[in-house]
């Protein structure tokens, strides 16, 4: 098995201790760093799709993402040295009053796997905190908001409003998600996109950077 093929399989199986050394080995063998990254992104994509179909499970996403970060930790300095720019910048958080972080973390990991630089503001994030981050980071073009409870869904609306009122609405696209959220609600509060799961969110965010 070739090194890249091996790497792809180890990412999919979540073998964190093996991915870093395999990335190094691929680099030593003269593989193109971008190609190495693509292999890992692709592996995450396969897991993400299986997850969407209900054929892979949350822990498998977590260990695969963890394995990929171990790989990218080795790869990143090389990519930076070669002047590779991230696909884009984004920020993510679970809205005010909501403490759920698993879904939000999965979305973050899947988005990271697409080569997007994404800041994670954590859970129970106030609208003002999003506003402050966007203000301080003009490179940030997408805001990802998560709400897992019907009682915290209004906080999605409030966050969109706060961003609009701060005059930042043209700087960023807003993506929303979480168990009770749907396309209709996203339209209602004026969000730019709704995605049903982490894999779909990662696919969608990339489109924003292409426009």
């Amino acid at each position: 098995m070739g090194t890249l093929e091996d790497l792809r399989e180890k990412v999919m199986k979540g073998k964190r201790k093996e991915t870093g050394p395999l990335v190094q080995q691929a680099l030593d063998e003269g593989c193109d760093p971008q190609e190495i990254l693509d292999v890992m992104v692709d592996a995450m994509g396969v897991i993400g799709e299986a997850f969407s179909r209900g054929e892979a499970f949350v822990p498998e996403m977590l260990v695969a993402a963890r394995a990929m970060s171990a790989g990218t930790a080795v790869l990143k300095p090389v990519l930076v040295a070669e002047g590779n720019e991230p696909v884009g910048h984004a920020v993510i958080g679970t809205v005010k009053g909501d403490m759920h972080d698993i879904g939000k973390n999965l979305v973050r990991m899947m988005i990271e796997s697409k080569g997007v630089e994404i800041a994670d503001l954590g859970v129970d994030v106030a609208p003002e905190a999003f506003v402050q981050y966007i203000t301080e980071h003009p490179e940030c073009k997408v805001v990802c908001l998560s709400a897992l409870l019907t009682t915290t869904m209004p906080a999605l609306d409030e966050t969109v409003k706060a961003i609009t009122e701060a005059g930042l609405r043209d700087q960023v696209k807003i993506m929303v998600g979480g168990a009770p959220v749907n396309q209709e609600f996203a339209d209602e509060i004026g969000a730019d996109a709704y995605t049903p799961d982490a894999g779909a969110a990662a696919e969608r965010i990339v489109l924003f950077y292409q426009n």
């Binding site: 979540g14 499970f57 822990p59 498998e60 977590l62 260990v63």
Partner: protein, 269 residues
């Protein structure tokens, strides 16, 4: 969990009939089924009145052909256990069992002393099954004394603290658990096993006693069971409990067993 597959046992009516009729295919299928279901050992118990050693040889030979798993030689007669070891060729198995009763230890421990064989040890003695945990621990300590004498390391022993029928003794589980905890505290590397279905004897809906028994016993330190490895309900509970007890990082074994269709819905479409 170390699972000892219990199906090849002449005291199970269908298996007993297959042994009486020399139905090789039936035994073969039991060996195959238990191997596929993820058993770690295949128990072989002849349960016949005469010619036990010959039946044991027949059973073990079939299992050897059908499975790569090691064998758990199961007989109330310690001499039969020891004599049947030679049928297993190089496969290092488990003797099932000794206890504080009669001369069992005197026969079995010398025979396995210089091997890597394991041994199930029941905490009963010539008076039967001691009522209290204190008395069972006394039997345990006497057994460990003998094991030390023969240089048998604790991790080769599978202690069965014994379960009494819950319907006859409401303290049965509590005594069992106290034994587990005290045994594990004294010898952290030792194994604890149980032929657990006895707990529910005489009760309706037996699985609703057997499944929580498994969980509570695992929580107390039981790390092996003599059971039907193809029992889907028990498999699900077993893998779930292992994950809950922090013995299955990221639930990956649980997911794998689910994916191997060892538990959960039969129809996966």
């Amino acid at each position: 969990m170390i699972i000892i597959g219990e199906k090849i046992n002449g005291s199970i009516p269908k298996t007993g009939a297959a042994i009486a009729a020399k139905d090789e295919e039936y035994i073969r299928q039991l060996a195959r089924m238990q191997t596929e279901a993820g058993a770690d050992y295949i128990d072989c118990c002849a349960s016949v009145n005469e010619g036990e050693l010959e039946v044991m040889e027949w059973l073990i030979n079939i299992v050897k052909e059908e499975s790569d798993l090691p064998i758990c030689i199961d007989s109330p007669d310690p001499q039969v256990c020891v004599d049947a070891m030679k049928f297993c060729d190089g496969r290092v198995g488990i003797i099932n069992s000794v206890s504080g009763e009669g001369n069992k230890i005197d026969v079995v421990f010398p025979a396995i002393a210089d091997t890597k064989w394991g041994c199930v040890a029941l905490l009963s003695d010539d008076t039967g099954i001691p009522k209290t945990a204190d008395d069972r621990i006394k039997v345990f300590e006497a057994i460990m004394e003998r094991a030390k004498e023969y240089g048998i390391a604790p991790n080769r022993l599978y202690i069965d603290p014994l379960v009494e029928t819950l319907g006859a003794n409401p303290e049965s589980m509590l005594v069992f658990n106290e034994c587990c905890e005290r045994i594990k505290e004294a010898y952290p590397t030792i194994h604890i096993t149980s032929g657990l279905s006895n707990i529910s004897f005489g009760l309706p809906g037996r699985k609703f006693i057997n499944m929580p028994f498994l969980v509570l016993a695992m929580n107390a330190g039981m790390d092996s069971a003599i059971m039907d490895p193809a029992n889907r309900d028990m498999n699900g509970v077993l893998h779930g409990a292992e994950a809950l007890l922090g013995e299955d990082e990221y639930c990956l074994d649980y997911i794998e067993a689910y994916r191997d269709n060892l538990f959960g819905p039969l129809n996966r479409d």
